[in-house]
Symmetry: C2
Subunit: 132 residues, 2 copies
Amino acid sequence: MNNKEKLRKAGLRPTKQRMIIADILLDGINRHFTAENLQNEINSSGNSMSIATIYNCLKKFRNCGLIKQVESSKDTAIFDTNINQHHHFLDEETGELIDIENQEVNLHKLPKIPQGYRNNGVEVLIKIKKQI
Amino acid sequence: MNNKEKLRKAGLRPTKQRMIIADILLDGINRHFTAENLQNEINSSGNSMSIATIYNCLKKFRNCGLIKQVESSKDTAIFDTNINQHHHFLDEETGELIDIENQEVNLHKLPKIPQGYRNNGVEVLIKIKKQI
DNA sequence: AAGTAGTTTAGAACGATTTTAAAGTAAAAA
DNA sequence: TTTTTACTTTAAAATCGTTCTAAACTACTT
Ligand SMILES: [Mn+2]
Ligand SMILES: [Mn+2]
Ligand SMILES: [Zn+2]
Ligand SMILES: [Zn+2]
């Protein structure tokens, strides 16, 4: 399926701007990035786009499930092109995130989900620190 | 150990403002809160404090390990008085966090820590959603 | 082609957090 | 104790990521 079809399937009009972003993000390579990172990539590709549009698109892409947003205590939003359930190593010093594929982690025992709720995804974060 | 001793042990001068915050946060009750939540509690306790001081103190307390900061994709920082390694349920709709004690989760299989790094803490996040 | 609903944009606005710099306070030195 | 020093608090300004506004533009429908 090409990017135009992916956008259509997600219920998004394939505008010029969304196609530029889709061409960068939906190439099958997993990456973690900020809005500013993406703007730099857009500029490097010879295009340009308003930062408002970049935020609009990222929000739409996220809400459609084309990308995810990472839980992060940094003050800049971090997005993830890996939409499968997976886990992360985090170097807290640098903020670097490294994917851990789902099958690399085995959760043997999980607590009971609170009454009236259902499990909506489990994420494991392994904080790592450079050895001295 | 009283709060003055806790601050001293952490290498922090026990100023009037830090003692007010310590009296609220270090009472042994586990809570998740924002800087604004804390300012409201300070006000309710009959005191007042500059928001800059609140941020200064929270950063110091966090860096000393007296409190933790939660990984959260919300744009307001969330702090946690539970400094033991533990896990969370997260209701993404409301942002509500519920503690899961460490022994409630059993990680059977963990991936190899990247070369040159050491494990610095594992956090499990279970996203939950209200049932319809 | 005309209509309409959705999209992009520059720039303004917003909200959380940090910085500034001056005044105040705690600890150390004398 | 007094003096000195380094650290802390504060209001206000600044910063920074993100969202809003409203006008121009574009994709889709009829
Ligand atoms: Mn955050
Ligand atoms: Mn922000
Ligand atoms: Zn990832
Ligand atoms: Zn907690």
